[in-house]
Symmetry: D2
Subunit: 382 residues, 4 copies
């Protein structure tokens, strides 16, 4: 292998060397990739084998009025995407919900989880280990929290099957998304469990976390934050701005998001939650693979007193304003647009994200519903 391919360093010239080696080996020209403005040393905990950067076009939506507990006011929201029409559509939604008075947002649960798997002797041993864990929660908490400044162990839930025992640890991780914090703390606690109970840790992640996979477990118990948001849009606003009616939006939402998703046995009862999450996650240095569990949202819509009621439920929204990619310059700037940089801002950020998701859901559903009206016009016009 070409020596230049090795991961020898973190300085700009090391990056250059590697990039050239890649060019040479692959016969490609990596001009655009070599164009980046940050010092690689600040990304040393974010990437290895760095050869440059990829530029993702960044747009924004808003102003979006949010009536949350932490996010109160009008916000501009950055979105990085290469999917044409996405920003425009979400922006339309923002305009409508803001004119309607803004999006209410409530957070109903918080906690980042890690779910290791242990091998036990048999079901009775598994039960004993579970009981030990329950009886020694304070000890586990002390050991787990000894590894972290900000993390707090909230609970440990056991799930057993045969010689497999899963312990789902849940943490308050402050303003960090918290996956690493949870992993390190759980590793320490798991070693204590091993020593005291004779259980053997097989994998620090036993897929009961559940990280980056769609799962009923996260859907039902939550991971990160469970966030609900809603808005009521007056009928005339639906007509003037969205060119459709509350009835048509509610029908599209019913047949598509509920019946359709039910027929598909989907874990996502929504139109395109993942789009908004992916664009905001990429813009702000979140972990884009966690869009997977984020996508499991439920969008409901009803006609209430002639107006359009629409809501979103996000059972697994995993975001942070410290750690991960949030400290990289562009990403940090993107967070700054919303006033969500650093400590004390994660709840605010989660609320803005949920509100933006709702705006995006409204706009897409309305567009789909209006398509039906268009067809009605055509068929009437024949």
């Amino acid at each position: 292998m070409n020596a230049g391919l090795k991961n020898r360093g973190r300085k700009r010239e090391d990056v250059e060397d590697r990039r050239k080696a890649v060019e040479q080996r692959s016969g490609s020209q990596l001009k655009c990739i070599s164009f980046y403005s940050f010092d690689p040393i600040i990304a040393e905990k974010n990437i290895e084998n760095m050869i440059g950067a990829v530029q993702i076009p960044l747009g924004f939506v808003g102003p979006l009025k949010v009536n949350g507990d932490s996010a109160i006011g009008e916000f501009l929201v950055p979105m990085a995407t290469t999917e044409g029409a996405l920003v425009a559509s979400v922006n339309r939604g923002c305009s409508v919900v803001t004119e309607a008075g803004g999006v209410s947002v409530v957070i109903v649960r918080e906690g980042m989880t890690r779910g290791p798997v242990f091998r036990v002797e048999d079901v009775r041993h598994g039960l004993e280990v579970s009981r030990w864990v329950s009886d020694h929660f304070e000890e586990l908490k002390k050991v787990a929290e000894g590894t972290t400044k900000h993390g707090r162990l909230l609970e440990v839930k056991p799930f057993a099957a045969g010689r497999n025992l899963f312990l789902r640890f849940s943490y308050d991780t402050g303003d960090a998304m918290g996956m690493n914090m949870a992993t390190i703390a759980t590793e320490a606690a798991s070693r204590l469990v091993e020593r005291e109970t004779g259980a053997t840790l097989i994998s620090i992640s036993g897929n009961l976390c559940v990280d980056k996979k769609p799962s009923a477990l996260n859907y039902i118990l939550g991971r990160g934050r469970i966030v609900l948001a809603d808005v009521r849009v007056p009928a005339d606003l639906v007509k003037s701005k969205l060119h459709t009616t509350p009835e048509a939006v509610a029908e599209a939402c019913y047949r598509k998001n509920l019946v359709g998703s039910a027929i598909a046995l989907s874990y996502g009862f929504n139109a395109h939650v993942a789009n908004m999450l992916a664009a905001i996650f990429i813009a702000t240095g979140q972990d884009p693979a966690q869009v997977v569990e984020g996508s499991m949202g439920m969008t409901t819509s009803e006609v209430v007193d002639g107006d359009l009621y629409i809501s979103i439920r996000l059972p697994s929204l995993e975001v942070g304003t410290v750690g991960g990619g949030t400290k990289l310059p562009c990403q940090n700037e993107a967070l700054s647009i919303m006033g969500c940089v650093g400590a004390g801002k994660a709840k605010k950020f989660a609320e803005i994200v949920a509100a933006t998701v709702l705006a995006g859901e409204l706009s897409t559903l309305a567009a789909e519903a209006a398509g039906e009206l268009a067809s009605a016009h055509r068929s009437l016009g024949r």
Copy 2:
């Protein structure tokens, strides 16, 4: 609202104006975001309200030996991420599977889908419409294909419930991921269905597609490509390079990916498929929200004749080498590293992606398994 916030144009100065307006309104400084190297006009179909770009650190893994039908040889694979250790870990996996002779990859199904929902009178009417669709497939095909140069209608599957009729259209979309192509073609075909059967189109997406939501439908019927990959790693290579044993990796895979995911009722029986997909998707201009369905992979592992057999099944891998963000300069360069630019390259690309996913799965499972050995060492040493 500040006039600068409006989406007035696509030139660099328009972007500047908007960016400044955003800065002014939000009180933020967007220096890094203003640093980008491509002409906004070439991104005009990728973003609206553009204010700059986000730089995502780009690394690479490889050489990775792939034994596919279209991808044959050793490849370097670009990955854009802010998650530290990911590139290093996948790279380790690439090194091992390459030394083991490379990853076999087979594609077993292709087809991009769109699943509109129609309102019908009742179940009998729904059945009549389904039959009409079946009887007039050639007509539908002609109308659908009349909207596209490359798309070919492969089949239409009906799903009915009460007054809801869903038609899942499946297309060969060539080297494009094909969502837009499928949407436009399905819209045309749906209008024909409406005219001829009395069914009313309610939403061009009835969530039977299923786009950007986890779903049993895609998991079982496939969307994009169903891709399988595997490799057999000699026991001594597992020991020397991964510091564990085939038995330990197989046990971790069994307890975590199978039992654990089963207990969590996850649609993903894997370690972290989404990580590899997200990093490659972002690097190469794919739709990152489609990591959602991509994440539904199954990783299996067994000890075979003392060696480690490991495989991945991706039932819904949606990628393209034309369209979407693939034509943007950085993204295009990233594709060029693998020799996957443009027409005729989508299968090759899909095979490389699947092989990289497998390398990443192997490395993470081995790391988790080795953690257990470490613990064994400690407990033995007491």
Copy 3:
């Protein structure tokens, strides 16, 4: 062990002997159990270790008007249950739907399945075996059908993951539920696959059948019969007979069957489909464990022109009028009430079952909805 416990014979005196041995060993008195009217010899293929019979109270519902393709007219339907109020409630539903003109029923798919699992060398071998199966379908069909008078092999669908290859065989099994027929035919075909491809049969059921387990596979692809049924009930009938309104029933159906089941990630979007199935299955000699997949129904309801539209979708209704317990005297008599004894009656029977299920769904949803009205009355009356 007491000799009397052994399964020595099938005559009434053998049954007596065993029963007495059970009484002796357990210290119980089995008088009621010893009271049965059929000759044990006719049940010799239905049970082993027979000690008597359990009497399940039998009621009936109807007349129920069915507008199917095979079941046309008014029927009385036998139900065996120990759950008080069930028969009365379903009967109320029958009365309403009959007065409303009867239940429309359509069957949209038929086929009993068996899905063995084979061990293959690797994914490429698995693909070769799949192709061999596809290329030699006629041969497989011949071998499979050589084991049965009535079964016809319809298709074989492959599903692969690593060293596991699943082949889902689907059969037309005439008027039998057909599980045994499908098993024997698939065993023969599987041996051919083994001989010709080098694949090794690991289990004749690989859980891709999917027999007696809830599964997305059956939900989406169907097993037994996919049956849809619906009825439109005039508003005044809803009021006079069900003491509620179309709006209230539709709302209960929406919040419970759709939103509730979606929140619970249920495979059953209905009120109590399993109740009707269990009671009819037990009465008529069907396999009561197949109520499991039968329970995965979807009940939808809408207000249409002021009236109540309600429908049921049963994706996996597995019934027969020959074989299994259908030939036992009581069970046969129960089938005779509906004119569904023996050959040529399975479709008719499936249609009557689906119509009864719909009647039961309507009655329960209406009762739940009326509960709400009651509460409204109380709260209004304070």
Copy 4:
């Protein structure tokens, strides 16, 4: 309608009248159905429109050695079925596990649930209602428990989406399965919630219970009892009695119950749990429709020190020894065979059921595995 069809009474002659009316109307002869030994009056809370009874052949399995907390010793277990070979197969399993020392059983959770759905104003109102419920748990408990002698309210879990609020009430229902008890208590508590919070009860079952539908909710949180059982079978016993090897059984279990069920996205990772449940439920007066949630078991198997380890996890086993059909004569006798009649016996009964399920799983998996050996013999013998 013939007057005789009316549900006029509960005496034997009323049953006769109705039966004759059914015969007349349907042209059938219901001799066997008219043969039953109990006084209809004792079934008056179990059935309406009674016309007789259906006789289900009853067999038994055992002796089965159970090492539970309540069930300790060897038991004979009654099974009512018309599926030939089922009793014989389970009996074989009982013989093997008993010789292996018996089945260990542990119960890890108890609680019968009811999950009504309320309509709330919006997500913020829903949050307020949830908080009210949490803050007034003791009040709700008092009201709920005021309706029942034996039921104890354990917890109330809220789940919200838009204008839908679900409250999942969980009860200790003593030795009754407890569904009716839970319904009545929840109705009372729900009225209190309505009065105090402004929420409107839409349906006393909002499908968050989840009764008689397969669901992730029950699978994860449990309903009725979560029961685990296991046994370790020496290799030579596997060979002599089951004609296969621990390795072959473990492989069949792995490829079928885990990989197969995962590919099918089944909620049941087992061979045929529903069979044992259905046969015991019907014999003992349980609710056979609850076999649906019971079927969601997970069977795991491993080779441990050369022996066969096999376990079952039943997350939703709903049984009782009082109430329902348990007081009917035959059913009561069936319970008496196990010493499980009446108060204080539900845990014992649940443990015996789980042990029987395990015996049935072992026997079927071994039979499937041995089928493979047979094939190996044939292929070796060619």
